[in-house]
Amino acid sequence: MAGLLDTIIQGILLGGLYALFAAGLSLIFGIMRLVNLAHGDLIVLAAFAILALGSGLGLDPLLATLLALPVMFLIGFGLQQILLNRTLGHGLLPPLLVTFGLSIIIQNGLLQGFTADSQRLQAGAIETASINLGGGVAVGLIPLLTFASAVIVIIGLNVLFYRTALGRAFRATSDDLATAELMGIDHHRTFALAMGIAMIVVTIAGLYLGMRANFDPTIGPARLLYAFEAVIIGGLGSFWGTLAGGVIIGLAQTIGANIDPEWQILAGHLAFLFVLVLRPRGLFPRALD
């Protein structure tokens, strides 16, 4: 019984990590219908940025993250302004292909700069710290922090989206681009800000990716798939749905791994396809695609 409970708790907490992977993707999906195939690689890029800043300046990963946040924001803003905005509005293929090319460039750029070696963000004592919940169930501090961060990020995105002027601009461009333009919204700048904010979420995701497990330049595409699955399960445009989607993937993977370690990833994918066949538009769709 304690074993099952433990599995479920670990699964939910793992879902927090996947929700962090997915929240940035969900934001970009929701606002500009851009499917960013480089999203996973950007998470890995953020983890390497934290690693480089941390080891270069001798900082703790958490402090290095604070430095990485504005850098990644600017990277996202610039990427959207210079590259991605040009791909929108010409059909399906340009954004897919350009972000696919970007994915290959980031992966190989990281391979060139950091080699294929596995890396890890060394966080010191909190890495091994855990909280005993009684009944033989203990949770690690980092998984707990991951989940808490996911909830905070999602609350933050909801506040931004529904309570601020920028959020109003996001929703307006999402709902009707032409009318939003008539109301004086510069949608290119709005999209660039959205990508910058998505990169802030991506950096937080990169921090936990690097603290929880080893990472190397090639693991981005798999993170993209988990993120995508969480977004689709949750339903387009719903941030809480994205959290629920992440938790479903996390649970399926943990339960699958408990049966046979080789089934972990497969169980997550199958759960995703199962939900998709039952509910094609996800569990909590806000927007029509």
């Binding site: 219908r33 499917v35 195939l37 590259l83 040009r86 791909t87 010409h90 399906l92 293929l93 340009p94 954004p95 897919l96 292909l97 350009v98 696919f100 090319g101 970007l102 994915s103 290959i104 460039i105 992966q107 190989n108 750029g109 391979l111 060139q112 595409p221 798999a222 993209l224 798939l225 995508f228 699955e229 689709i232 080789e262 990833i265 497969l266 994918h269 199958l270 995703f272 396809l273 998709l276 066949v277 094609p280 695609d289």
Partner: protein, 361 residues
């Protein structure tokens, strides 16, 4: 005005697809084909191997182009069918004792059958989501095949020499060209790759010239309008998806007959079997039959002269993909076509005045 409308038309019209240039080029193409078939009698083994690679990449590119360029199904998951075909070849030859060439054909049929339920799942996704959704499905294929211990599980397995050296016609080729078994095997896979490349090109061309091809072009140009004039878009797309899966499965089987070693990570590699293929189609020109031919030549030259640079080569490929999409989204052939009105494989229907003997009024 009045007299013209009163009298019946004096000229007759017919719909034409061929152009004088395309008919001339068909003859040249046929000669080229004969030359390529006879090539092993003079060419070195290296060239034969390189050309096999060019041919199967061209065949994969034609398949993806039909899927994405005409049916609007931008898949990032075609490696599912390459890997499936490869594994089927291994299973059919090792456990079924089939001849490898027969196994290639059968692998295509089975891949097509697998594509029906797979298609029903991935067709739940629309547009851009289809891309990632098909990728997820390809990952499921990879992870499932990694579980099959009889085929080597996660580390993969090799084709026993008895299988690859027992391919039909190998003794005949050995005596004909006076070569040893490995070289004879290369020549047979070369012919098979040539047949698949020419075959996919012919299938795609004939399909696009047919009624169904007209429906596909309509879907490509404006899906809602196509539906409004009575085209069953879902059924047409599913048919294309299954056809492409069958052809891709055959190509995958051939690729792994040549490689003689398979593992889940290589057989279901998104980079090798989808990213490169997309790059070929996009560089050459998506939505044209000539585009993949041009693209594969460019890709081969890049690979041959720059692949030694490893990561820098891949970074360059990524940059090329981005540059083409931003500055020449129609690719090399698309741009040429726009400027010179070329069509080696014309599919456009033109109205021509037919020669009428005598006045029919």
């Amino acid at each position: 005005m009045t007299s013209a409308s009163a009298s019946p038309p004096t000229a007759q019209f017919r719909v034409a697809v061929s152009t004088p240039a395309s008919l001339g080029l068909a003859a040249v193409g046929l000669l080229l084909l004969v030359g390529l078939v006879a090539l092993p009698s003079v060419a070195e083994r290296d060239l034969i191997q390189d050309l096999s690679f060019v041919f199967y990449m061209l065949a994969l590119a034609q398949c993806w182009n039909l899927l994405a360029g005409y049916a609007g199904l931008v898949s990032v998951g075609q490696q599912a069918f390459v890997g499936l075909g490869g594994y089927l070849l291994f299973a059919l030859t090792i456990f079924g004792n089939l001849d490898p060439l027969l196994a290639i054909v059968l692998a295509g049929v089975v891949a097509g059958l697998f594509a029906i339920p797979t298609g029903l799942v991935v067709f739940r996704f629309r547009g851009a989501y289809f891309a990632i959704g098909s990728w997820v499905v390809a990952e499921v294929y990879r992870l499932v095949f990694a579980q099959i211990k009889q085929l080597g599980g996660g580390t993969g397995t090799s084709l026993p020499p008895s299988v690859s050296n027992g391919v039909a016609g190998i003794d005949w080729v050995k005596t004909l060209f006076d070569v040893r078994a490995p070289a004879a095997r290369d020549i047979i896979t070369y012919w098979a790759a040539l047949a698949l490349a020419a075959g996919t090109l012919a299938v795609v061309y004939l399909l696009l010239r047919s009624r169904r091809g007209l429906a596909l072009a309509a879907i490509r140009d404006q899906e809602a309008t196509a539906e409004s004039v009575g085209i069953n878009t879902v059924r047409t797309k599913l048919a294309v998806y299954v056809l492409v899966a069958a052809m891709t499965g055959m190509i995958g089987a051939l690729i792994y007959l040549q490689k003689a070693r398979i593992s889940p990570d290589s057989a279901f590699a998104v980079l090798d079997w989808t990213a490169y293929v997309i790059l070929i189609v996009v560089i050459g020109g998506i939505g044209t039959i000539e585009g993949p031919v041009v693209g594969v030549i460019v890709f081969y030259l890049l690979q041959r002269y720059l692949a030694d640079y490893g990561t820098w080569y891949l970074i360059l490929l990524g940059a090329i993909a981005i540059a083409v999409m931003l500055f020449a989204p129609q690719g090399i052939w698309g741009s040429l076509q726009g400027r010179f009105r070329l069509a080696l494989f014309p599919t456009q229907r033109r109205l021509e005045r037919a020669d009428v003997s005598g006045d029919r009024t």
